[in-house]
């Protein structure tokens, strides 16, 4: 993909987010001038960006919206939810185009009719708020040009701003640029004006013109002065459908091929057919018309010029509906692998550059030391210098690691700002009125986390709206405001990033959860009876659980919350829930600040070294063997008045244990998902900070392993996924 387009996609998505946010804010507080300005700027910049990559239909569509927003700005038209919806729909379309571009690396084909439809929608809502006074100009035009009206497809009236000359505009030059110009009339507004009062610096001229070009095209070509023009369509002649899908250039290339093939002369007719056919195939592929291209390829196989001509002619007369369905298919089959680009603050890069410089100094010092050693420096001196250098290197590597990790850090805002839109739609679809509050969106987290939290959080929000929030009658009855509040917040807590979704709904109905869990057989009835309230509430994360009485669009299919737990777990995080009846629910996602750096403790089992993530380790202990009680095939012991299951690391990994029958067992007590468990190991090692490499390729599906890293002596350290050891 071309660099330009890459940059464009990046910027455009940001601008869409901004514009969406502003539009939604406008819906809340209509006439907030800052938001109007900000939305206007976003659309304007987006339009400019589309112009730079020469994506004309997108620029045209956005221009139409910009016109509406400028109407808001000048208070010429009121802001209504319907118009905001239209604007958002336009942004959705733009997003679809961007996805297309990201997939194919090219400008989406077939965007023209779509853009036309958008422009059409905005222009119809425009006409009732036209700022130009409608005069008798059409009559004047027809009186001045008898008989020429029939040639024209549109009539234009253009009243430039009085300061047009000062702005460096040349209105007639714009008109000159129109194709199909039939005639122009120039009028000064006030013929009775005294002659000396004519000011050569003020533009006072009114331009009216007849043009043999459809009104939409004229509007498009004059889009930069759209507030000063009025265009009337005159007897819109239906345009050939294929015009819409084949660019004029493509059409003319295809037509030229037909001419070439029709040229008389026996020499090389077959060769001509072949080359003309190939050209046509390429043109049609370019236009995204694969099946038309295939039919020409078929004709080529017959090696008959006439059938090639027929195939090209047929391609020229294709119907749009076939085309659009064909196109959407190609779009769908195209690889969705969008370019992953990270935007980094220059200051962070500068830090890295400085650190690299310092690293070079240490490297040179090492060279110097090596030379000194060669020249016979005594071992003591070498050792002292080496120690010194090692300390420096240690500090530098630490700093570089930190700096690189900070590069991968993004503010949550990037993900959070995508939520208001779906929340608005979801709440509308279940007719609940919701105030959505975002807090702490400048909290930073690793890119991988920020990027992969969107889906799980959307599930959580969806659940909160669908199940958490009561309907307004119920809310009123329990003395709550009818508008519910959902807060999405993020904050740092030590090494973790916490993301919470808090609603002020009815809380989790514990009895109902019990009922459903029993009915679905998620837990045995007697276990269920012994479970605490918190444990029961936690069951909503069990797979196959759904309390919704009916399956709605949104949730209630029994997937969702367990998917959330899985997704968050994959990122090395945990999900917990706190709920109080009639007050509300908080779902808390606890995530590591970075997924790259992991603190591990090394342990040995069966003579091999393994890593255990430090954040699941509660403590290490020596347990006398006589306190370990076998339970069925497993074992357990009592630790601080709690029963803790014990697994042997060697045994659970299928390795033969070398444990001598010593009186005490070395155990690591862990806590995962609120459950305690102990792992028996042979030896405890030290603490390490490692860059974990996830398992990929053939080992990608391996259970129980979180990733690997290299030890100082070159051995591979396997870091275990403790939760899976206990499953």
């Amino acid at each position: 993909m071309n660099e330009f387009v890459e940059q464009f996609l990046l910027e455009a998505r940001e601008l869409i987010e901004q514009a969406t946010g502003d539009l939604l804010a406008l819906e809340q507080r209509a006439n907030d001038p800052d938001k109007i300005d900000s939305a206007f700027r976003a659309f304007h910049t987006l339009k400019g960006a589309a112009g730079i990559v020469e994506f004309e239909p997108m620029a045209r569509a956005l221009h139409a919206v910009e016109g509406v927003l400028s109407g808001f700005r000048s208070k010429a038209r009121p802001i209504s939810p319907a118009i905001i919806d239209e604007c958002l729909a336009c942004l959705d379309q733009v997003t679809r185009w961007l996805d297309d571009m990201a997939a194919t690396g090219e400008l989406p084909s077939g965007a023209d009719p779509v853009a036309d439809a958008i422009v059409q929608r905005f222009s119809t809502s425009d006409s009732d708020a036209s700022t130009l006074p409608v005069g008798d100009w059409l009559e004047r035009l027809s009186a001045g040009n008898p008989g020429r009206f029939s040639e024209a497809r549109s009539a234009l009236r253009y009243v430039p701003h009085a300061d047009a000359f000062f702005r460096g505009e040349d209105p007639l030059a714009l008109i000159e640029g129109l194709r199909g110009l039939i005639s122009i009339d120039l009028t000064l507004p006030d013929p009775a004006q005294p002659f000396d009062a004519v000011n050569p610096f003020t533009c006072a001229v009114e331009i009216i013109a007849l043009i043999n070009e459809d009104a939409e095209t004229v509007k498009r070509l004059l889009s930069e002065v759209s507030d000063q023009i009025e265009v009337h369509a005159i007897d819109a002649k239906p345009q050939a459908v294929s015009d819409l899908v084949l660019s004029p250039l493509a059409r003319s290339v295809l037509e030229a091929q037909i001419l070439l093939l029709r040229e008389p002369g026996p020499n090389g007719r077959a060769a001509r057919a072949a080359s003309a056919g190939l050209v046509s195939i390429n043109v049609l592929h370019h236009a995204g018309l694969a099946s038309a291209a295939n039919s020409i390829a078929g004709a080529l196989n017959d090696a008959d010029a006439t059938s090639v001509i027929t195939a090209i002619e047929r391609a020229l007369q294709r119907k749009t509906d076939n085309v659009s369905s064909e196109r959407s298919e190609t779009a769908r089959t195209a690889s969705p692998a969008a370019a992953r680009v990270l935007r980094v603050d220059t200051a962070r890069i500068d830090t890295l550059v400085n650190l690299t410089g310092e690293l070079t100094v240490v490297k040179n010092a090492l060279g110097h030391l090596a030379k000194q050693a060669q020249d016979g420096l005594d071992a003591k001196g070498v050792t002292a210098s080496l120690r010194n250098l090692q300390t420096q290197l240690d500090r530098l590597v630490g700093e570089i690691q930190g700096a690189i990790l900070r590069i991968r850090v993004l503010p949550m805002r990037q993900m959070f700002q995508r939520f208001p839109r779906p929340v608005r739609e979801i709440s509308a679809s279940v007719s609940k009125s919701i105030q959505f509050v975002i807090e702490g969106d400048d909290t930073e987290a690793d890119t991988a986390i920020v990027e992969s939290l969107f889906e799980p959080l959307l599930h959580v929000l969806r659940n909160a709206i669908d199940h958490g929030i009561e309907d307004s009658a119920q809310r009123m009855a329990s003395g709550k405001p009818s508008t519910a509040t959902i807060v999405l917040r993020a904050f740092r807590e030590l090494d973790n990033v916490i993301v919470e979704v808090e609603d002020d709904g009815g809380g989790v109905d514990v009895d109902r959860v019990r009922e459903v869990a029993a009915a679905r057989g998620l837990v045995a009835a007697d276990t269920l009876a012994g479970m605490t309230e918190a444990d029961v509430i936690d069951l909503i994360f069990a797979s196959g659980f759904s309390t919704a009485r009916e399956v709605t669009d949104l949730s209630g299919r029994g997937v969702g919350m367990d998917a959330v737990r899985t997704a968050v777990g994959r990122l090395g995080g945990r999900v917990s829930i706190a709920s109080r009846p009639k007050i509300g629910t908080v779902i808390r996602l606890t995530l590591p600040f970075t997924v790259m750096m992991t603190h591990v403790m090394t342990v040995e089992a069966a003579g091999q070294v393994f890593g255990l993530p430090l954040d699941v380790i509660v403590e290490t202990a020596m347990i006398p063997r006589n306190l370990i009680v076998p339970i069925g095939a497993a074992a357990a012991f009592t630790w601080r008045d709690r029963t803790v299951p014990l697994v042997s690391l060697a045994a659970s990994l299928g390795l033969s244990s070398y444990i001598a029958d010593v009186g005490q067992a070395r155990v690591v007590v862990t806590s995962t998902g609120g459950q305690l468990g102990a792992i028996e190991v042979e030896r405890l090692g030290g603490r390490m900070d490692v860059m974990l490499k996830p398992m990929d390729g053939l080992l990608g599906g391996m259970k129980g392993v979180a990733g690997t890293t290299l030890l100082g002596d070159g051995r591979v350290l396997i870091v275990l996924d403790v939760q899976e050891l206990f499953n």
């Binding site: 505009e169 040349d170 007639l172 030059a173 000064l188 005294p194 004519v198 050569p200 610096f201």
Partner: protein, 96 residues
């Protein structure tokens, strides 16, 4: 300059006339209102210049060199000339 005062009776527009020419043309025309504007060498003219020609309803000597001027602007000025009021000063406005 692309606008030249040849003598009291004739002004010449040549080449591509920018908006600045409007002021000069305006001054010349204020001085000699019956002057003929010869724009046969004029290829392009800024709207400001055309506006002055329109306001003064000048006697034009052409056709202009530029095709847009010839095909569209000259006919427009001709049509507008029939509509615009006679000049407020001077006994004879047009040498027709």
């Amino acid at each position: 300059m692309t606008v030249k005062l040849i003598d009291n009776d004739s002004i010449e527009l040549v080449g591509s006339c920018p908006s600045e020419d409007a002021e000069a043309l305006f001054q010349y025309l204020l001085q000699s209102r019956n002057a003929t504007v010869d724009w046969s060498g004029c290829k392009r003219a800024h709207t400001a210049v055309i506006q002055v020609l329109l306001a003064f309803r000048c006697q034009l000597k052409g056709p202009p060199a530029g095709s847009f001027l010839e095909l569209h602007i000259e006919p427009a000025l001709r049509r507008a000339g029939a509509q615009i009021r006679p000049f407020p000063a001077g006994p004879e406005v047009r040498n027709s």
